[in-house]
């Protein structure tokens, strides 16, 4: 029982790290209806840029700010050269454009910074600590705290401010939002910049855990089932879904793995997502959509 609980909680904590990635998707999806596949490669780009600046002697916060500025510049470029020309495109067209973006981000970050693995030390120790009789990793707990505070901040920004209101207005009806004077281009840039900020935080946390390397961009594949279970539009939903996926995946790897073979965690989350979708076709907390003929 003790072991079961440890597996469960450790999985749930690492699931919060998946949610950290998925939040970036939600921000962009809510503001512009774009399913941004490039979120994973933005994480790679952000983490690689940051770690290379730090390795060249730039202080932590300066490197953080410089990377953030680059991501904001990227948000401007993406709005101007990709999203604005495609503003009348279908959702599939926009999704495919972000697939193209992810190739550009991956290629550019590796041309600029090379392909070697970088260690990243955020000063968070990774020791076993005992919480309520369970042996857990202190790093996982710190990562959960970071993700949790990020969620609170983002939930306040998007829920309680005028900016959040205009983000939602643009998502609900771009034309109506335009006609009451909301600057569509500005809102898009802000949403992508926020997603860039989330990508930077996620990149640092993931990079500190598993090294800054190309595989960071593959986290997107871990975040997708989380996003699907949580619903594309709910920040709180992806946290709940992240915990579910993380815990389920860890339990499956420990208890199912020996019976049906290793590597269960590669696909388990997707089957879990399918099960949830059959019960709730727009995720746990996703907005239901209505259509009229």
């Amino acid at each position: 029982m003790q072991f079961f609980l440890e597996v469960l909680v450790a999985g749930a904590l690492s699931g919060v790290m998946y949610a950290l990635v998925a939040i970036g998707f939600v921000l962009i999806y809510r503001a512009s209806g774009v399913f941004n596949f490039a979120q994973g490669s933005m994480i790679l780009f952000a983490a690689l840029t940051f770690v290379n600046l730090v390795e060249r002697g730039v202080p932590f916060w300066l490197a953080f700010g410089a990377t953030l500025l680059l991501l904001i510049a990227a948000a401007f470029a993406i709005e101007r050269f990709v999203l604005r020309p495609l503003s009348n495109g279908s959702v599939i067209t926009l999704f495919l454009a972000t697939l193209g973006l992810s190739y550009i981000f991956e290629g550019l970050s590796q041309i600029a910074w090379g392909a070697q693995v970088h260690a990243l030390d955020l000063g968070i120790s990774d020791d076993p600590v005992s919480v309520a009789g369970l042996s857990l990793s202190s790093f996982d707990i710190a990562a959960t705290a970071i993700a949790g505070s990020l969620v609170v901040v983002l939930a306040l920004v998007t829920g309680k401010t005028n900016l959040g209101l205009s983000l939602r207005a643009v998502a609900a009806d771009p034309l109506a939002a335009l006609s009451i004077g909301i600057r569509l281009d500005r809102v898009t840039v802000i949403a992508w910049s926020l997603a860039g900020f989330v990508a930077l935080v996620a990149g640092l946390v993931w990079g500190a855990r598993s090294g800054v390397q190309f595989s960071l961009s593959l986290i997107v594949l871990k975040a997708l089932p989380v996003l699907i279970i949580g619903g594309f539009t709910s920040i709180g939903g992806v946290i709940v879904a992240g915990v579910l996926v993380g815990a389920g995946e860890n339990l499956a790897a420990i208890y199912l793995g020996p019976t049906i073979g290793n590597g269960v965690e590669g696909w388990f989350a997707y089957i879990l997502a399918l099960v949830f979708l059959m019960a709730r076709p727009t995720g746990l907390f996703g907005q239901r959509t209505w259509a009229r003929i």
Binding site: F35, F81, V82, P85, L86, G89, V91, I92, T93, F95, L96, A97, L99, G100, L101, S102, Y103, I104, E106, G107, L108, Q110, I111, A115, L221, L224, P225, I228, F232, I260, G261, N262, G263, G266, W267, Y270, I271, A273, L274, L277, M278, P281, T282, G283, G286, A291, R292, I293
Partner: protein, 360 residues
Amino acid sequence: MASLPAPLAAALPRTPRIRALATVLAVATAAIVPFALGADYLFGAVLVPILILSLAGLGLNILTGYAGQLSLGSAAFMAIGAFATYNIHLRVPGFTLLPAIVAGGFVSAGFGVLFGLPSLRVKGFYLIASTLAAQFFVPWALSQYGWFSNGSASGVITAPPLTLGGFDLDNPAGRYAFTLGVVAVLTLLARNLIDSPTGRAWMAVRDMDLAAAALGIPLGRAKLLAFAVSSFLLGIAGALWAFTYLGTVEPAGFDLDRSFQILFVIILGGLGSIRGNFLGAAFVVLLPVALSMIGGAIAGPSLDPALLENAQKVVFGALIIFFLVAEPDGLTKLLDRALPYPLELDRPDETPPAGVAANV
């Protein structure tokens, strides 16, 4: 093998004869010209993969371009087709390679229906959970259980010798001719299916499923049939990929990147276009060749392969965005504009015959 039957034009009454003639000419050119050139590299490394990717693109196009169901799991169905063909040929007596390939396509179609079942309840982007589940589960299962690959290490399967009715086709030209025959026949069948009420129903579902349902189109049946036909074509493409192109293949060869590659074929070629699949496949196969030639010409032999690979990624990503912005209908539309008169082999609905138009 030289060309399709001459009275093809008469068999396609609703389309202008010039289009049918163009099809015959294209297939005849594909059947004759490379043999006259006779370069093995051209067959093995260029034409065969272009044809197979065209067929895979056609499969995905039926699901995504015509029926409007986004799929990110094409490679999984290619893997099912390849491994089913391998096992049927190996274990079922009396199945030579061609019947085994067709049977492999049917196995793949069955799994396509299985993974398409969620589409009855789930719409839009949420549906990618289903095809991604296939994408990650299938290669895992194929490499996990040795039975699928007859006990070989890491799930590698090796192609049996390619023979057809006593003819030995196990050489580059023979493999090309075999691939061309299969792809030409399946493309013609798919074209006719798309032109039938079934294909019209798919397009109605794609354009607005609620309206299609109100018109009396059975949504579930239309979607599942699209999954079945799409997976059938993808499965056969996978079998050809394994048996006439690569020779040996492992489950990891059918990964998510392969699925994306096929997605690029249909985006760059043109969603909802048959000719676009061939144009897109040619582009996807030839672009890396061209880029490495250009890279080699600029930087000389000392070119860093990692740099080249990353530069290819950037160019590829930029081209995708460029095409989406400049021409959302893909290369097929560009070709149309370049031609002096419309020569579309598909979408006859855009230029209905005069009699039909008068009745509407």
